[in-house]
Point group: C2
Chain length 283, copies 2
């Protein structure tokens, strides 16, 4: 089975994307709703939780682990990798690769076309196309992991980050397109907009639910990259290249859902994300 965990419900966006790419692979999911959210906790605490969640999934029969939580991916990946033999996936590298592989946005192209002096063909000017914005939780942004991973591949990229601590509660509250939500999203995106980013990474698995609103506020020239799709593609590619491992994975199309706490609000939002009535078992 493919084992996936998140601090709560956001990781179900990754489950949805993996089910779309690998519909027959059995999936086991754990939402740590009893201790959610992770984004406002210390790395030390998040590492502890990530190790416990991984242990739970491995004991339930998971052969590969997906950390479908940007906060856990940001601060706990090394610790989880060190402590378990199974292949471990995080959701940050696929989003970074996807952001860097996109053709320059229209905005950047337009700017480049306008200027006809020799200057803009210099490497410095060309690199200007990589103006990448990143939004995420306090813990993710504070870890600096996106900037680090982007610069490992593209050292001249410009990265601008902003922590958006209210977006997770807004999504969980179901306030997806209220005036208050629009104001808060606008405020969080403002510093990135003034930097004229051409790519925006949604560095939290909750944010895809707000994608339309975020696109509207950041402007339609900015390419939005989110983790679920790119992470699912990375896992499919990995298994394609390792038929031995892939043959070990059960393929009945099963989805087993576990949660450490189960409120009606959680089940309601899970239903919206999965587009089906989810049957959770409490652990």
């Amino acid at each position: 089975m493919i084992g996936i965990f998140d601090s709560g419900i956001g990781g179900l966006t990754v489950v949805r994307a993996i089910k779309k790419r690998l519909p027959r692979h059995d999936i086991i999911y754990l939402g740590d709703t009893a201790r959610t959210p992770y984004g406002n906790k210390t790395p030390e605490t998040v590492v502890k939780y990530a190790l416990e969640n991984t242990d739970f999934l491995i004991k339930k029969g998971a052969k590969i682990i997906v950390m479908a939580c940007n906060t856990a991916s940001s601060v706990a990946f090394d610790a989880v990798k060190k402590n378990f033999d199974a292949p471990i996936f995080e959701v940050i590298s696929p989003a970074v690769a996807s952001a860097l592989s996109r053709p320059q946005s229209k905005n950047a192209k337009k700017t480049a076309q306008k200027k006809t002096s020799p200057k803009e063909t210099s490497p410095k000017e060309t690199n200007k196309a990589h103006f990448i914005g990143v939004i995420g939780t306090q813990a993710t942004i504070k870890s600096g992991v996106y900037e680090r991973k982007i610069k490992e591949i593209q050292p001249d990229a410009h990265v601008f980050s902003n922590a958006c601590p209210l977006l997770v509660p807004l999504v969980e509250e179901g306030w997806l397109n209220r005036p208050e939500t629009r104001m808060i999203v606008k405020k969080y995106l403002h510093p990135l907009k003034t930097r004229q980013i051409n790519t925006l990474i949604l560095g939290c698995t909750h944010y895809p639910v707000l994608k339309d609103l975020i696109q509207k506020k950041i402007g339609h020239r900015v390419v939005i990259v989110d983790s679920p799709g790119s992470s699912a593609a990375a896992i499919a590619d990995y298994l394609d290249a390792r038929p031995d491992l892939d043959s070990e994975l059960e393929k009945n199309g099963d989805l087993r859902l576990y949660a450490s706490d189960l409120t009606p609000q959680f089940e309601k939002t899970a239903k919206i994300i999965l587009k089906q009535n989810p049957l959770f078992q409490r652990v």
Copy 2:
């Protein structure tokens, strides 16, 4: 020692109030910041956490326990009382008693004075003065505890409640007087305002930090009642009546602060509430 716990930082408003009433009594505080918030979790989970927190404080030497968290007070008081011998205090009953003991608000008086028909002197009309609004977390409001406790004392009281799940994250984010916060507070209070409440209970230890804004939005005729002051008074009265127990409590004016997680944001907000540099130990 007086042992006090909360899901996080909100309970420090209770610490502040108790220190004001009983400045020499030693206090030990536990903020369960590693699992905060409680307000969006199930009663089952909150009971488990409340029992663990109480056990921690008792083992550290607490002789009486204050559950300085409305969510825990709402759903876990009976379980904690059953499992421990020490006197246990919750923060709901004192606020309810305070709300019901207030003289009728100006608003209600004015309405009564205006009408001069015999009708308004009937018991039904007199009881109209008790139009009480309650705001709190999802878990607190869903428990119905405020309504139940109010009606035990004043069966004819009218109680209107509204859950305000975004207020805790807004306080923790430090967005105390931003336009977004003002909009959200206005929206949450609107259904209570249309019911013409004359008293508003702040049913969450985080909310006193937003008291001025809440007063402005609900209107200056509405009397606002919060738990910290009334809870501190209840504890002082209790100890006054039990000199034997009181003599057992150490009185060096010490304040020992523990937290299950320690982020800079947590320490910053703790400093705002306590008006001093807090020294937390991590557990």
